[in-house]
Amino acid sequence: MNIVACVKQVPDTEAQIKVKPDGSGIDEGGIKWVMNPYDEFGVEEALKMKEKFGGDVTIVCVGPARAMETIRTALAMGADKGIHISDPALENADAYTTASALAAAIKGVPYDVILCGQRAIDDDSGQVGSVLAELLGIPQVTVVTKVDVDGQKVKVVRPIEGAQLVIESALPAVITATKGLNEPRYASLPGIMKAKKKPVDVKDAAALGVSADAKAKVGKFIPPPARPPGKIICADDTPEGKAAEVAKLLREEAKVI
């Protein structure tokens, strides 16, 4: 069984995000870059499938030169080879363009399952996996917490508001992973050593025949609105007194209860 896992390099969740003064983007100084946490769930699931059914795991990533580190991390976890789509023209690519590049790269790879994170925690778009499925003309099941492959079918669990859906899909398919699917493994030291020798193909947009014309783009980045300073409730200094004061403020000042 051949599996493709798509990954993206993103700022760590603890990163402070500062908008550049001209609003053209974020200031990348001092940011620690990591594999998108949702993609880690995808890579882990890919490795589990490989352990169960055999085959190869190919990592595909769109990102600048630094993203090679994220591909090596996935290879160190146990993936077999990588494709790094690196092109300055793709740096602010929208979901459609990114998915087009992934689709073009993946067309040259045999696959039964494609795993993606349900969204990247930088732009929070949550589109690339779905668009990729459409461009490849295969079914998709998104935001899943359980995956069972059975022959030419896959059964997944997808949580929605107030319920969980059990969905069956034909393969090949794109599956997007969310938290709860698994516990991603850490790369072992021998894994890290081996990863250095695993093959990674580097391709640019022209080689893949992808146009970088965005359908949507962020015209301006804006810092979040500052919250007005709040007040510390003192009242009569007993927990009951403070609780009564908060309840009163919520009712009479904020009018939210």
Partner: protein, 325 residues
């Protein structure tokens, strides 16, 4: 040329969901600025009667695809149907709910329509006759103003943020054949496991009572459930509490959970890690209850209580009960 403001109306168990009225009201507001009509697409089985209800919230025309193959929702069937209607009619703007189903549908439509989509928007406006969508990025650590170079310009709207406004319009039904062959569909829902009835999802709640490491264990959440019961709120959790196995993943608020903007967020025993603050600081009002007066959560709170939450929360429940009686 592309023209008109469209929405995809979402329904479940035979009724329109609240986000559909938010979409209709917002579409009406945008269409009044561009001088266009508002149309809705409803895909389902036995859904024609929903059209009249959409008319109440400013929808002029309702495109209905009615077929047993559309229940329950699957991405392939619904995306094919909506894409057909869009391709045949060429709207300029398409709004979808940023619910679990809406986000799934919208992303698939981007692929089918070669369009651009701004996900989980908190504001949409018209500038120079075109849609500009405002959305949180990095879980709310910054915002982006999205502009579009393709039609339809698509935006999914975060539930509970956009006001519902009644404007009577015709809601005239236009039936269309989506050309979806049930036999050719590649996915199907084989089971729906419903959670305990009455449970409100944090992504759709008006009020969230949330607990972190300070709850000390899963049993600590009992007092939060009680307060939530009185307030009609959802119970949320920090990443620390979810990673410790105290609460289900679906309750997690923050950068690797759900990003929320309720009217009221009550943070109990949550110190305020940056990834958590990002996920909740667009709440209208924030109450923080924590023993540590230096916890970063207090910088975001409108009302801060420095005290033992195990004493404050039950007292707050009693007070709220009194006030709301």
């Amino acid at each position: 040329m592309a023209k008109g403001v469209w929405i995809v109306a979402e329904h479940r168990d035979g009724a329109l969901r609240k986000v559909s009225f938010e979409l209709a009201s917002t579409a009406r507001k945008l269409a009044d600025q561009t001088g266009d009509e508002v149309a809705a697409v409803v895909v389902g089985s036995g859904v024609e009667a929903m059209a009249a209800e959409l008319g109440k919230y400013g929808v002029d025309k309702v495109f209905v695809a009615d077929n047993a193959a559309f229940e329950p929702y699957t991405t392939d069937a619904h995306a094919a149907a909506v894409a057909k209607a869009v391709k045949d009619n060429d709207p300029a703007i398409l709004l979808v709910g940023a619910s679990a189903q809406g986000k799934d549908l919208a992303a698939a439509l981007v692929g089918k329509l070669a369009a651009g989509l701004a996900t989980d928007c908190t504001d949409v406006k018209i500038e120079d006759g075109k849609l500009v969508a405002v959305r949180p990025m990095y879980a709310g650590k910054c915002f982006g103003e999205v502009v579009f170079n393709a039609a339809p310009a698509m935006a999914s709207l975060r539930p509970n943020v956009f006001p519902i406004v009644e404007t009577a319009k015709a809601g005239a039904v236009v039936k269309f054949d989506a050309g979806v062959d049930a036999g050719a569909l590649k996915t199907k829902v084989v089971e729906v496991q419903k959670e305990a009835s009455g449970k409100i999802d944090v992504a759709e709640a008006n009020i969230i009572v949330s607990g972190g490491r300070g709850m000390k264990g899963p049993e600590g959440y009992g007092i939060l459930e009680e307060l939530a019961g009185v307030l009609g709120a959802a119970v949320g959790a920090s990443r620390a509490a979810v990673d410790a196995g105290w609460r289900p993943q679906s309750d997690q608020v923050g950068q690797t959970g759900k990003v929320v903007s309720p009217n009221l967020y009550i943070a109990c025993g949550i110190s305020g890690a940056i990834q958590h603050l990002a996920g909740m600081s667009s709440s209208k009002y924030i109450v923080a209850i924590n023993k540590d007066n230096e916890a970063p959560i207090f910088a975001k709170a409108d009302y801060g209580v420095v005290d033992d939450l195990f004493k404050v929360v039950p007292a707050l429940t009693t007070e709220c009960k009194k006030l709301m009686a």
